[in-house]
Assembly symmetry: C2
Homo-oligomer: 281 residues x 2
């Protein structure tokens, strides 16, 4: 059961905020879905995964994506970043617990019960939306920002053929090697190096068998991003892509930081990138 | 002294958040300024005034204005909606006091000391910004949303020749005749019908002497706007414009509501509207 909470007409289409009870996270979960005007609808869609501290609303309100999505006839689905609620485990830190689900299934206590964002997205939210809205299961791509960029890259690599293309804004690309990732992986996955590798984009791309069949990945990264040197490490991912044969377009942008002002500047390029992949027959 | 609080590169230009101590409101006041890329700069600028409850950030983050502003070489200045602070008068209601300054100078206690938004904008903020940034004092236009649409219309009509053009999104056009306006005008101006008329766009346009010299005004209004029938009354303003010879383009849009999703859909039209007026020699 999907409950619509609010819906606004926007660029001829509509942006809706929705809530449903998730059996994976055992909580209510929210998402937003932009649908282009009826006359433009293609059924093709892009999933956007947000970064630390965000909800489904940050992208929806701030990314300026819907003018282009309307023109291209794309739907855009934006998910929340974790389960939430007073009874759900959390810590005070912004980079662990609620708002910081890292798009994986936790196996450690107290997280394992609810923090199942990978299964939530892949087994529940996407099928649910494909059933309830005009979304083509064969026509989806994935993108995201920061922690959500990590989510987009890892889900793309873990589920070959499921997404037609992948891109990311300032993604965490090698979580096993940076403080944000080490903290989250340690808490959610425990002291288990092999388990960590299953959720690390740089490790995944090294082992991927289907890289030659994958669409090229697009990554945009601002050079004034405060997190670039310590947390994001796109150069690690680029090296792994080169070694494994995964095509990658990595663009560095002078002056841009980690904010949604950076995302809104390049979102149209990403939507066009995905549209090209999605509309190829 | 203007203090920059943060600044982000955006669409090749930059969006800055600033703070300064206002002698009109006797408080720190914040604003945002988008500046296009150096190569695009014209010195021309548009002032945006927000609606009830907003700060300078709502427009800045949600209106999607900067791609077009960058392309046209326009700066955009977004102001706050009132003085703020623990020692500043306020009430619990969202439509009076902090966040609800109505862009006029209050004369009643306890508001008169700080709630001087008209003088703040006209005598302080605009001259300050024109002195400190590359803004052409002869090249500015004004727009706004809801209460800020009222602000844009009234300041345009009160200060002939000061703004090259005026537009509004879902403005309060006849505050003396609607609950929001009656409440605010009663509190800020007292029981003084003649005083009210000096701050009511519909009354001002009836008395304006220079309407034949004014640029046409553009108003966009959504037909699913919950406040349309009770608070906004664009038909009152349209009738007054017709009688006084003020050219007006009033567009009604099926399905659109009062939100920033409505504003983001039509902001490019407004920027192009102002750019045409501003770039006329």
């Amino acid at each position: 059961m999907i409950e619509m909470q609010k819906r606004h007409k926007c660029h001829g289409g509509s942006i809706g905020y929705y809530c449903h009870d998730s059996h994976e996270t055992k909580t209510p979960m929210r998402f937003s879905l932009f649908e282009p005007p009826e006359s433009q609808k293609t059924g093709l869609y892009v999933i956007f995964l947000s970064g630390l501290t965000c909800t489904e609303e940050n992208f929806t309100a701030k990314a300026n994506a819907y003018q282009k999505a309307s023109a291209l006839g794309l739907c855009i689905l934006a998910a929340d970043t974790s389960p939430r609620g007073e009874t759900i485990p959390d810590v005070e830190a912004y980079d662990l617990g609620q708002g910081a689900g890292f798009y994986l299934d936790a196996v450690q206590k107290p997280w394992a019960e609810n923090f199942r964002m990978e299964s939530y997205l892949m087994q529940e939210l996407l099928p649910l939306c494909e059933k309830n809205f005009d979304l083509n299961p064969e026509g989806k791509s994935i993108t995201g920002h920061s922690m959500g960029g990590h989510g987009a890259l890892t889900l793309y690599l873990k589920y070959p053929g499921r997404f037609r293309s992948c891109s990311a804004f300032a993604p965490i690309t090698a979580p096993s090697q940076v403080p944000w990732g080490q903290k989250a992986f340690g808490a959610y996955l425990g002291d288990a190096p092999e388990e960590w590798q299953q959720h690390d984009a740089t490790e995944l791309v090294k082992k991927a068998k289907s890289t030659s069949e994958n669409a090229p990945i697009l990554i945009d990264q601002g050079l004034e991003d405060d997190f670039l040197a310590e947390q994001l490490k796109p150069e690690f991912f680029a090296k792994a892509c080169e070694e494994s044969g995964q095509a990658l377009t990595l663009r560095y942008h002078e002056g841009y930081d980690h904010s949604y002002y950076f995302i809104q500047t390049f979102i149209n390029d990403h939507l066009e990138w995905h549209y090209r992949a999605l509309s190829r027959s």
